[in-house]
Amino acid sequence: MKEQKRDVIVEMTSKKILPIILTFGLYVMVGTEGAGGGFQGGCIIAAAFILYAVVFGIQKGRTKMPESWNTFFTSLGLYLYCGCGLLAIIASLFVAEFLNYSAFWPLTNLFGPYEARALQVEFVVEVGIGITVFAAFVSMFYDLAWKDEDEAEDDEEVMEC
C-alpha cells in the first residue's frame, strides 16, 4: 500500500481538537439535568472518531476502533438502557413496571424516588443511548468507507499482476 500524503496542519489541529470534542460530547450526554442529550452526545463522540479516521486514514482508525468493538459497544449501550428499565422489574420482584426507575430501591432509599429516577436517567440511560449511537455511527461510517478501501486494494493487486 502506498504511503498516504500527510498534511501537518490538519493533523495537528485535529489532534488538539479531538479531546475537546470528546469532552463536549460527554458533557452533552450527562452534563444536563434529567433526560435528553444521549443521542446528540453520541453523535458528537462519533464525529470525533470519524474525524480521526478521515485525517489519519481509515487503516489507523480501524486499529483504534475495530469493528468487533463497535459491535460490542452497540450492544453494551442497549444493555445499559434496556437493562436499567428491567432492573426496576427485577429489584421490585415483578411488582413495578418496566422503566419505573424509582422502583430500584437501593437508590430510592438513599436519595428519594425523584432523585433516584433522575440519577438513573442521567447517568445510565443517557450514557447507554450515547454509547449505542456513537458505536452505530462509527460502524456505519466504516461500512461506507471500507468498501472503497478494499476495492482500491483489489485494483492495485490487479495492476500489479
Partner: protein, 506 residues
C-alpha cells in the same frame, strides 16, 4: 403474586426479544454457531409466555400495563385482550417453527459470515411484531411496526441478486405506507390530543363528522393496507416472497402478514368503532367488491405463475382478501368470525405450504412447477404435507381452511349478499385449479427419462428432520384445527374477541 407476574409478560416478550437480538450480535464475535441456539431458546420461552398470557386473559380479563408507571393518556400503555392474546400466540408459534426451519435452510442459502447478523435481524423482526400486537398506543404501534418492517427489508435483501430489487421496492412502498399511517395518526392527534387507543376511541365518538377524522381513517387504512398487501396495494409482495430466502418467506407470509392484518383490524374496530363504520357503509361496500375482485383476479394470476413461490404469494393476497371480505361484513356475526379465524387458519396453512416448498427447494433446487414430476416418490412426507396444505387452502372439510369459507358463506347468507357467496365458491374452485396443477405434477406424472438420468440412485431423498418436523406439525395442525373449530361452534374465544371490538352480538 402470580398475577402480577403474568402481567409483566407482554413487555418482557418485547424487551427480552431486543436484548436477545443484541446478545446474538455480540456472540457473533466469538462464535457464528451460538446465535441460532440463543434465538431458538428465546423464541421457545416467548411462545410459552404467550400461552400464559392467553390463559391469564381468558381467566382474568384484559391486561392493562402502564410502562414506567405513567398513567395512560400521558404514558405508553400496553393492552392485551382476547384478540391480542390470540394473535400473539399465533405469531410466536409460527416464529418458533420458522426458527426451527431456518437452521438448515440458512446454512445452505446464506454465507456463514452473515449468520449472526441474520439471526439478530430475525429476532428483531419477531420482537417488533410482538410489540405491534401487544401495544395499546397508536404511536408506539408505528415505532414497532417500523422495527419489524426495517428488519424485513434487511432479511429479504440478505440473499443478494434479484432480492435486492424486491427489497428496495418493498422499502419504498413500505416507507410510503408508514408515512400514510403516521400522517393519519398525526391528524387524529391534532383532533383529539391523545395517542392512547382507548382514550382516542372515547374522544372520537362525538366528532365522527369531522373531515379530518375521515381523512385520517382513509390514510390509516391505506397505510396498513399496503403493509398487509391488500389488493390493489399488494404490488411489492409477489417479488418479495419469491426472491427472499425460504426461511424469510416462511416468517414473512405467516408472522409479518398477520401482524399488519391484526393492526388494521385493531385500528378500524378499536379506535374507530363500528358506529363510525356504519356511517360510511357505502365505503365498505367498495371494500367488499375490491375483495371480490381480488379473489377472482388473484386466483387467475396465481394460476398463470410457474414459479411456485410466486404462486403461493398470489394465494396469500387472495387470503388477505378473504379477511377483508369478512371485515367488510362487520355487521354480521359470521363474517367477522371468519376473518378472525382466517388469521390462524391461513397462517398455519400457508406456513405449511411455504415450509414444504422450502424443503423441496433445499433438496432439489427446483422452483418451477413444471419440473416437479414424480417428486412425491422422492419426498413423500414433504409432498404429503404440501397436499394437506393445498386442500386446506382450497377449503375441503374438515380441514382448517374450510372453516374460514364456511363462516364467510354463513356471513353472506346472514346479510343476504348472494353475489359474494358465489364469489367465494368460485374462488374455491379457482384455488382448486391452481393447486391441482402442482399436485398433479407431484403425484400423477411419471418421471421423464432425462430427469431420472441425473437422479437415478436417489430414489428416496427426504428433507432433514429440522425442516420436516415443522412442516409435518403444521400439516397435522391443519387437520386438528379444522376439527376443533368445527366441533366447538360457536367459539367462546371468537365471541369474546368480537365483543371486545364493540360488535354487538345477537
Amino acid at each position: 403474586m402470580i398475577d402480577t407476574f403474568v402481567e409483566q409478560f407482554p413487555i418482557l416478550i418485547v424487551t427480552t426479544g431486543v436484548f436477545s437480538a443484541f446478545t446474538i450480535l455480540v456472540s457473533g464475535i466469538f462464535s457464528r454457531k451460538i446465535g441460532y441456539y440463543i434465538l431458538l431458546f428465546v423464541t421457545a420461552i416467548h411462545f410459552m409466555m404467550s400461552i400464559a398470557i392467553l390463559n391469564y386473559v381468558i381467566s382474568f380479563g384484559r391486561i392493562h400495563y402502564w410502562i414506567g408507571g405513567w398513567r395512560p393518556p400521558w404514558g405508553i400503555e400496553y393492552v392485551v385482550d382476547h384478540l391480542n392474546a390470540y394473535v400473539l400466540v399465533v405469531i410466536l408459534f409460527l416464529s418458533f417453527l420458522s426458527v426451527v426451519f431456518a437452521k438448515r435452510s440458512v446454512e445452505k442459502e446464506i454465507d456463514e459470515k452473515k449468520h449472526p447478523t441474520f439471526y439478530t435481524v430475525m429476532q428483531l423482526l419477531i420482537a417488533g411484531c410482538c410489540g405491534v400486537v401487544v401495544t395499546g398506543d397508536v404511536f408506539n404501534l408505528f415505532v414497532l411496526a417500523e422495527v419489524a418492517s426495517l428488519a424485513t427489508y434487511a432479511l429479504i435483501a440478505i440473499a443478494g441478486g434479484k432480492a435486492l430489487r424486491a427489497s428496495f421496492t418493498y422499502l419504498i412502498l413500505g416507507s410510503i405506507a408508514i408515512c400514510f399511517y403516521l400522517l393519519g395518526i398525526g391528524f387524529l392527534y391534532a383532533v383529539t390530543g391523545t395517542l392512547n387507543m382507548i382514550d382516542m376511541r372515547l374522544l372520537l365518538q362525538n366528532i365522527y363528522d369531522n373531515k379530518m377524522v375521515q381523512v385520517a381513517f382513509a390514510l390509516v387504512v391505506v397505510g396498513l393496507g399496503i403493509k398487509a398487501a391488500v389488493f390493489p396495494l399488494h404490488t411489492w409482495q409477489p417479488d418479495a416472497y419469491t426472491y427472499a430466502p425460504s426461511a424469510v418467506t416462511l416468517i414473512m407470509s405467516t408472522v409479518v402478514a398477520k401482524t399488519f392484518v391484526y393492526a388494521l383490524i385493531r385500528i378500524v374496530f378499536s379506535v374507530f368503532t363500528v358506529n363510525f363504520l356504519q356511517k360510511y357503509i357505502n365505503a365498505w361496500e367498495l371494500v367488499s367488491w375490491l375483495a371480490a375482485v381480488t379473489i377472482i383476479v388473484g386466483s387467475i394470476l396465481a394460476f398463470r405463475q410457474y414459479n411456485i413461490k410466486r404462486m403461493l404469494a398470489y394465494s396469500s393476497i387472495v387470503n388477505v382478501a378473504y379477511i377483508m371480505l369478512g371485515i367488510s361484513m362487520f355487521y354480521s356475526y359470521w363474517g367477522l368470525s371468519g376473518a378472525l379465524a382466517n388469521i390462524l387458519n391461513h397462517a398455519v396453512a400457508k406456513g405449511c405450504a411455504f415450509a414444504a416448498i422450502g424443503a423441496i427447494i433445499y433438496k432439489t433446487g427446483l422452483k418451477d412447477v413444471r419440473y416437479y414430476s414424480g417428486l412425491a416418490k422422492k419426498m413423500p412426507y414433504t409432498c404429503g404435507a404440501f397436499l394437506i396444505s393445498a386442500l386446506t387452502l382450497i377449503g375441503i372439510p374438515p380441514l382448517a381452511g374450510f372453516v374460514t369459507k364456511f363462516y364467510l358463506m354463513l356471513g353472506c347468507l346472514e346479510v343476504k349478499n348472494y353475489t359474494m357467496l358465489a364469489v367465494i365458491l368460485l374462488g374455491s374452485l379457482l384455488t382448486l385449479a391452481y393447486f391441482w396443477r402442482v399436485v398433479e405434477e407431484m403425484y400423477f406424472k411419471s418421471v421423464e427419462d432425462e430427469n431420472t438420468h441425473g437422479n437415478a440412485e436417489e430414489r428416496f431423498n427426504e428433507a432433514p428432520i429440522t425442516m420436516l418436523a415443522p412442516t409435518m406439525l403444521l400439516a397435522i395442525l391443519c387437520i386438528a384445527l379444522g376439527i376443533y373449530w368445527l366441533t366447538s361452534i360457536p367459539l367462546e374465544i371468537i365471541d369474546k374477541m368480537i365483543a371486545s371490538m364493540g360488535v354487538i352480538l345477537k
